[in-house]
């Protein structure tokens, strides 16, 4: 039987506010346990939540970026359950009146087509703390630093049909939130966390199969693996005559498998109700328009502009627009270089290659966009050849200085003095009589191929510094005459 997977993602994004969503405690990652949790975060008696306006603004930014409906009245609810990392015994979240509803995100499929993925809703809520299991001799330690960090939970429609599509959606989402500057999107630090709802059904069937939810998937790679693993598990289970149980599963990246989380004696009943400590959040059109005006250019718009403004093809433009940092880097390099196409090639070529080798992202590239632009300028003004430029780039990466400094220090400046080149050409002609003979006996088409030999000899003799165009010109003059 042919099977089809149906996937929906729930993504929790930590918003990059300075202070928590309901308190004035800081949100910095990695501090000593419980040093960033104030009385409100700890749910101390009599402490009350006060909503951070920046979190609201960020949520609205996101909603506008995905063409969603922004609710002018949104309401915070209490979601009740007991867990030691949840200090108040309830999480403040939004159920019936989320801030953002019905938007969409477009993804690019492998076949070059665009697919639209629905976003059901995005709501604001507070993050929980952390349970620490090591170093507490059989007990569990509770660190509430993370408690109260603002989260935007973004829920997709079950529109995704493969792990690849899920990853494409996640990457696009990542690009959007980082473009908007509402989160650092760092999955390794938990700034973006993904729960995957997965079910399978026979191809052609409209009715949905029973789904499982995989929690705790914290990298693009693991999302792909976890979903693929879960699809296989479900298909195997059904084909063996079993039934998928609706449950929560945990992805174990070390074993590359999902396993069932211990089911509770009673199913959870979260008893949502409007939080009486908070009032309805009301915004007006003026507020929304003010935010709309500050929206940056988003990935799709940027890609389109790269194509029209710089004459790049769709694939290159899409790669370069893939993250805001990369796009900014490219544009800066192109501006300094004065040649966008060349800049694009360099960013996707040498720069990407080096970043990959050193496992760095472009934000930490040791060669700045301006520096790269200057290097490209030296190619364009014939100071160095493209080949030499690669050596210079390597030296720049190693911190040896700017392109000009390295070119100077290493004496890599191209020889453009016609007299000097003529002298070398004369020498090469004198030393290669048989080849000269052959060249002169050939027709134009053949000569075009044979000239390469002489160019190579001249370049070799000049240690690569002779200007190739000039060399060509002088050679033709002397050989053809």
């Amino acid at each position: 039987m042919q099977w089809e997977a149906v996937i929906g993602l729930e993504v929790h994004v930590q918003l990059a506010t300075q202070s928590k969503i309901f308190s004035g405690a800081p949100t910095t990652f990695g501090a000593e346990p419980n040093t960033q949790a104030c009385a409100i975060d700890l749910g101390m008696p009599g402490m009350l939540p006060v909503f951070n306006g920046k979190a609201l603004e960020m949520a609205v930014r996101f909603g506008l970026a995905i063409g969603a409906h922004i609710n002018k009245v949104s309401v915070f609810d209490r979601k009740n359950y007991f867990y030691p990392d949840l200090p108040k015994g309830y999480q403040i979240s939004q159920l019936d009146h989320p801030i953002v509803e019905t938007g969409h995100i477009d993804i690019l499929l492998d076949n070059g087509e665009t697919k639209r993925i629905g976003v059901t809703r995005a709501h604001l809520e507070e993050d929980a703390g952390k349970s620490l299991h090591e170093d507490f001799h059989g007990m569990t330690g509770i660190d509430l630093n993370r408690a109260g960090t603002p989260l935007l939970e973004i829920v997709s429609e079950p529109d995704l049909r493969s792990a690849k599509e899920a990853v494409a959606y996640l990457r696009k989402l990542h690009a959007i939130i980082t473009y908007l500057g509402i989160s650092d999107g760092d999955m390794s630090q938990g700034s973006m966390r993904c729960d995957c709802n997965v079910s399978v059904r026979p191809k052609g069937q409209t009715e949905l199969g029973t789904r499982t939810e995989i929690k705790n998937v914290n990298s693009f790679r693991f999302v792909e693996k976890a979903i693929n693993h879960e699809i296989e598990r479900q298909i195997e289970l059904i084909e063996d005559g079993g039934k998928v149980v609706q449950e929560t599963r945990l992805y174990d990246s070390e074993r590359d498998e999902t396993r069932s989380m211990r089911s509770k004696e009673f199913a959870n009943d979260y008893r949502y109700f409007p939080d009486p400590d908070l009032l309805p959040v009301e915004i007006d059109d003026a507020y929304i328009e003010r935010i709309r005006e500050t929206l940056p250019e988003l990935p799709e718009a940027k890609q389109a502009r790269f194509q029209s403004q710089y004459g790049l093809n769709a694939t290159d433009a899409s790669i370069l627009a893939g993250s805001r940092e990369q796009a900014d880097y490219f544009e800066m390099a192109a501006e300094v270089a004065g040649d966008a196409r060349l800049a694009a090639n360099w960013v996707m070529g040498e720069v990407a290659k080096f970043l990959n080798q050193h496992d760095l992202d472009i934000g930490r590239c040791p060669v700045s966009a301006e520096a790269l632009g200057q290097l490209i300028q030296r190619i364009r003004d014939n100071t160095i050849s493209g080949k030499i430029a690669k050596d210079v780039f390597e030296a720049m990466w190693a911190g040896e200085g700017s392109a000009d400094e390295i070119i100077d220090k290493r004496g890599l400046k191209q020889v453009t003095d016609t007299g000097a080149i003529e002298a070398i050409v004369d020498e090469v002609i004198a030393n290669n009589a048989p080849q000269v003979e052959q060249y002169r006996a050939s027709d134009d088409a053949k000569r075009g191929k044979l000239i390469g030999f002489f160019v190579g000899q001249v370049m070799k003799a000049s240690k690569g510094k002779a200007n190739p165009q000039l060399v060509n010109q002088v050679l033709r003059q002397k050989l053809d005459s």
Binding site: T17, Q18, S19, S23, G24, A25, P26, E32, P33, N34, T35, Q36, A37, C38, A39, I40, L42, M44, V50, F51, N52, G53, K54, A55, L56, N80, F82, P84, S131, L132, H133, D135, F136, G138, M139, T140, G141, I142, D143, L144, L250, M261, R262, E265, F266, D269, R271, P274, P276, L278, L279, P280, V281, E282
Partner: protein
């Protein structure tokens, strides 16, 4: 609306309250009386009435995004029944 012991156990577990078996009967009885009393609400038709969550209908005021709370860990942990290395201690949590 009569509750049975299963209902009571379920509610008690949601509220994380242990009810001693010898008290269950009495607790059930009290709850039944309260719920019977509360059911007087059903006397009135409230079709179309918007629920009122706060007596003064007002809007949420937004806080400026500023860090105002310095680290006060020692003071805040002073009331905790058990701590170690700046963490609250609980019996092992199994995931």
């Amino acid at each position: 609306m009569a509750l049975d012991k299963n209902d009571l156990n379920k509610i008690a577990y949601l509220a994380r309250l242990e009810i001693a078996p010898e008290n269950a009967e009495r607790v059930l009885n009290d709850m039944d009386r309260i719920l019977d009393f509360v059911d007087h609400m059903q006397q009135v038709d409230t079709e179309g009435v918007e629920p009122l969550a706060h007596p003064i209908e007002s809007r949420q005021i937004l806080r400026e995004d500023r860090v105002t709370e310095p680290n006060q860990r020692e003071a805040l942990l002073a009331n905790a029944p058990a701590t170690e290395n700046g963490c609250f201690l609980v019996p092992k949590v199994i995931e």
